[in-house]
């Protein structure tokens, strides 16, 4: 194992005794990984790619961008028109944000389906949630930078939320703005933080993966496995090539957006320069924040909406303790599986009504879906995890000792997807 690894070359040994980088890389290549991981497990690698791609394109954009209320909009257009391949860099970055969120949502729902958040992986999960929070903050601030109409009004709506906090709300909002409205000081600090946060995310990702390497990966059948054993394969080359394959497929879709529909995920109003005197008819955030926007607007009271908004995210942090079922994978939890899919539909519905005006039927749907969202985590899961009759789980991946016929096939089908 990598702990006792001794580099073959003399220099390698000398270096490794002082800084065990070679031991680390040996650990990473040897890392025993369950052999039945399906493609939902490739999104961790895809996310790493997204993060690095955002950082690299972001740094290049930062070389040409001007963080000033009078110049930001035109500096973006300067990038699009005059900087060599500036349009490409910018479209990678703006669509990259969407692809990043698409991947993270799949990654999170993967964890929900296979119970990856459960013991002993709670810290991985919590680090993941912190990453997700920072991602949302980063994306929100990034969206402000082009200083279009949606940038400006989105920033106004979201920062105004803090004014709902009793007593100190007003001061907090003014502090965030650096003035009495969203203006140049807001833009410059958002740029500064937007540059900083991805590196914080990077740090958290390192911890996330570190924490992952302690218990090792969960897997589709959700059982603990012996490592290394017949149930595992070394990370390299087996998982690296599979991750690469999935990443390439992801990149094909990504390229489809960049080259052939680069503005389809954005809002056309953001090609109108910010104007504090003209309010757009519908102020909508980017698609990946819509479910939360729907939750926010489903409460008639501003403070209540803000509380629910934050609660909807923080409730996920408590998830490992809300769901006490010992069985991880939904494959062996017939009832949980149904509720899982209802939750998926619920969140999609929230996203849909988040894009619609908060009135009439839309508002009703938003309210029902919000209530269901909380009920899923606070009522259904705690009760279900105590009363659900789970199906018998196999003892190992290769030798499904406990399984009757149907289960064996299940595992086979997982393996075939390898």
């Amino acid at each position: 194992m990598s702990e006792n690894y001794v580099p073959s070359s003399k220099f390698g040994k000398w270096f490794n005794d002082r800084l065990p980088l070679l031991t680390l890389s040996k650990h990473l290549t040897d890392y025993p990984t369950p052999k039945n991981l399906n493609y939902w497990w490739t999104f961790g690698g895809i996310l790493t790619f997204c993060l690095i791609s955002q950082i690299i394109t972001g740094i290049v954009l930062g070389m040409h961008y001007v963080a000033h209320a009078d110049m930001a909009f035109n500096s973006i257009e300067h990038i699009m028109r005059d900087v060599n391949y500036g349009w490409l860099i910018r479209y990678i970055h703006s669509n990259g944000a969407s692809m990043f969120f698409l991947a993270v949502y799949i990654h999170i729902f993967r964890s929900l389906f296979y119970g990856s958040y459960k013991s002993p992986r709670e810290i991985i999960w919590i680090l993941g949630m912190l990453i997700y929070l920072l991602m949302m903050a980063t994306a929100f601030m990034g969206y402000v930078l082009p200083w279009g109409q949606m940038s400006f009004w989105g920033a106004t709506v979201i920062t105004n939320l803090f004014s709902a906090i009793p007593l100190v709300g007003e001061s907090i909002t003014n502090w965030l703005w650096g003035g009495f409205a969203v203006d140049n000081p807001t833009l410059t600090r958002f740029f500064s933080l937007h540059y900083l946060f991805p590196f914080l995310i990077l740090g958290l990702v390192v911890l996330h993966i570190w924490a992952l390497h302690v218990p090792g990966n969960n897997n589709p059948v959700g059982i603990d496995i012996k490592k290394p054993s017949k149930d595992t394969v070394p990370f390299h080359p087996y998982i690296t090539i599979k991750d690469l394959f999935a990443l390439l497929v992801f990149m094909i879709i990504f390229s489809g957006f960049i080259f052939f529909a680069p503005n389809i995920l954005g809002h056309s109003d953001n090609y109108i320069e910010a104007n504090p005197l003209v309010t757009p008819k519908h102020i909508v955030p980017e698609w990946y924040l819509l479910p939360f926007y729907a939750i926010l607007r489903s409460v008639p009271d501003k403070l209540g909406g803000v509380i629910l908004l934050f609660a909807s995210i923080f409730i996920l942090i408590a998830l490992p303790w809300l769901d006490s079922s010992k069985v991880r994978s939904a494959i062996f939890r017939p009832v949980y599986k149904i509720f899982f899919w209802i939750l998926v539909i619920d969140v999609l519905a929230l996203g849909y009504v988040g894009a619609m005006p908060a009135e009439g039927l839309y508002l009703l749907v938003a309210r029902v879906a919000t209530i269901y969202y909380f009920a899923h985590f606070l009522i259904i899961l705690p009760i279900l995890s105590r009363i659900e009759k789970t199906e018998p789980v196999p003892l190992s991946i290769t030798e499904p000792v406990l399984g009757g016929m149907p289960k064996t096939e299940m595992i086979r089908s997982d393996k075939k997807n390898v």
Binding site: L88, Y105, F113, L248, S255, F259, D269, K281, D414, V418
Partner: protein, 263 residues
């Protein structure tokens, strides 16, 4: 039961795509714009060079008296992927305009003919002047107008084609016109196009729909000047990725066959 995995996968993917579709459909109660078979549509789309040149003519002879295009320089008219006027044509076009320059050695501002490197000259000194001169409505800058409207090129074309007699009983204020495709069916721009308002130097018949098409093509280019490069590069990138993906897939199968047969 045995293919729950594949089934749930299909469901999940279709739901994700539905989400995108829904967002696109954020339907406002508006009339659907006319659909034009633009040459620049689709993954191999290119601009029609002659149409771009005619479009510039419409812009400069008609729209430019009200609408600015602050983000464009005259040199852009000669660049690849655009109208591709020759160097001399661009110089001649620029020289038609006067720009302010200075201060000179005496400290005075002066005017001189524009050069290709200058930005398009605006019809009004500022937004307020433009608004005041147009009965309180600001003629928006046209550089990225196509991307700043839902519906893009189709929408812009439709607005230009959408002037009609207002329906019976609808009272319109002075300076307000009926237009099918505008929000609220009202626009504060009088119909800018009428048959023969420009005479095309290439002899094309200047019908309203021809001019609307040409000027919209021009505006689409101005909003997305690298569209052609983008399409060309995109095709190459995707073909490369597909080939690479297949190769990686095949080596993956090879590699994993050892594990799969181990059982």
């Amino acid at each position: 039961m045995c293919n729950t995995q594949t089934k749930s996968r299909t469901i999940f993917l279709s739901l994700i795509f539905l989400l995108f579709a829904f967002n696109q459909a954020q339907s406002e109660e508006k009339i659907k714009p006319l659909e034009v078979d633009w040459t620049f549509k689709g993954i191999t789309g290119k601009f029609d060079r002659a149409s771009l040149q005619r479009g510039y003519q419409v812009y400069t002879e008609v729209c430019a008296s009200c609408h600015s295009m602050n983000l464009l320089s005259y040199r852009n008219l000669g660049e690849k992927g655009g109208p591709e006027f020759s160097v001399d044509q661009v110089k001649a076009i620029a020289a038609n305009f006067e720009v302010e320059d200075g201060p000179n050695d005496e400290g005075d501002m002066f005017t001189r003919p524009a050069r290709p490197s200058d930005k398009f000259v605006s019809p009004y000194p500022n937004v307020q002047a433009a608004t005041a001169a147009n009965g309180g409505a600001y003629p928006p800058d046209m550089s990225v107008l196509v991307k700043a409207r839902k519906g893009g090129s189709d929408y812009i074309y439709s607005v230009l084609m959408g002037y009609e007699e207002p329906p019976q009983g609808l009272e319109l204020d002075d300076g307000v016109y009926y237009n099918k495709y505008m929000d609220g069916q009202k626009i504060k721009m009088s119909n800018p196009l009428s048959e023969g308002i420009v005479s095309y130097s290439d002899g094309t018949n200047a019908t309203v729909s021809q001019m609307a098409k040409d000027v919209t093509t021009f505006l689409t280019w101005s909003a997305e000047p690298h569209l052609e490069t983008r399409h060309k590069l995109g095709l190459k990138v995707i073909i490369f990725l597909i080939i690479f993906t297949i190769l990686v897939y095949l080596s993956m199968r090879r590699l994993w066959s050892r594990i799969d047969s181990e059982k």
